[in-house]
Symmetry: C2
Subunit: 167 residues, 2 copies
DNA sequence: TCCGTATAGTCAAGATACTTGACGATAATC
DNA sequence: GATTATCGTCAAGTATCTTGACTATACGGA
């Protein structure tokens, strides 16, 4: 009974959203695995997302809130964790008694360096997997998409619009 | 004071991983917003991820566990939620007293239909945003990447390898 | 100077989406 | 029948994020 219907079983989807999700997940899994293998066991996806916004010179917690899209409370909790792991440290801002500066520790900077290396390795693997031409096309399309999206939301919420050309 | 340092502020990253993540998040946000706007307020990203694995004919809960990568407990909890929302229903499997069949309710099928419509709309928007050629290149690269990844893990853990052509 | 208001960060509580571990019930195998 | 494996459930804990309430500091006037 069910058997005949099973002939028509759907395969997993094959639209942009699914493909993007799939590729994104695969990248993250590869990156996280490599980072953990490199001795950075504290590494998680959420933390990575936040670290991507912290400049190497350190920055105000409030600036971090603007740059990343999540609530200040979430950021604080993530920072609590990162601080406990010894990746970043929080210092009082000498210019503003209310503020705090978030800065990488040397352990954190080490992790960043490893992260850069891992990223390049993965990128190399990707290129060898699908060919340079396709890879370039992929990046071009993704950048165009991001630029289009930023333009589409036009009410500049910041953060997204400055992604590409700023430097 | 801080200003001079800000000249050297790092921009947001521009590597594959970041771009994929960014694009994936943007797609999901757009999709979820459209779904909620279409009256499917129960819609969340995690639920979408699971629903993407449930065929329209319904399937065994255990089959669902194999297909999606997450633990059976997580699946159960997601199904609990979906069942409470009236999107799916669980019936005893007549062929196996231990098993249960997960099936869409008519409300669930309605949502799927809306989902398909929304997906196509978004895809159309994407095409008009970056051009058909680029969009095609994007899809091609993403598919190649997925195929390469499936091949790379070679120890067929299932789930990933069978994505496209399986049947 | 004092006062109102905005900003920076914290504390507390709760929701969601997972995890591992232990368990009962049914099926399959020998 | 006894053993072993599979299917689903229950319970508890973790990570990540949310909203709401609060404190401390800064700033911009009267």
């Amino acid at each position: 009974m069910v058997k005949e219907l099973d002939e028509k079983i759907e395969t997993l989807p094959d639209h942009v959203g699914w493909r993007l999700w799939q590729a994104s997940r695969a990248w993250q899994a590869e990156f996280a695995a490599a980072m953990r293998a490199a001795g950075h066991g504290w590494f998680t996806e959420a933390r990575a997302g936040l670290l991507g916004h912290i400049t190497r010179n350190g920055m105000r917690q409030s600036a971090l809130i603007e740059r990343s899209a999540i609530s200040k409370q979430a950021i604080q909790q993530l920072l609590d964790g990162l601080e406990a792991e010894g990746i970043v440290e929080r210092l009082p801002d000498p210019q503003d008694g209310r503020g705090k500066l978030v800065r990488y520790t040397s352990k954190g900077l080490d992790a960043l360096r490893d992260g850069d290396r891992v990223k390049m390795e993965i990128e190399r693997r990707y290129v060898s997997r699908i060919g340079e031409e396709r890879f370039t096309a992929l990046m071009g399309a993704l950048r165009a998409l991001a630029a289009g999206q930023a333009a589409a939301m036009d009410e500049d919420t910041g953060a997204q619009g400055e992604v590409v050309e700023s430097k």
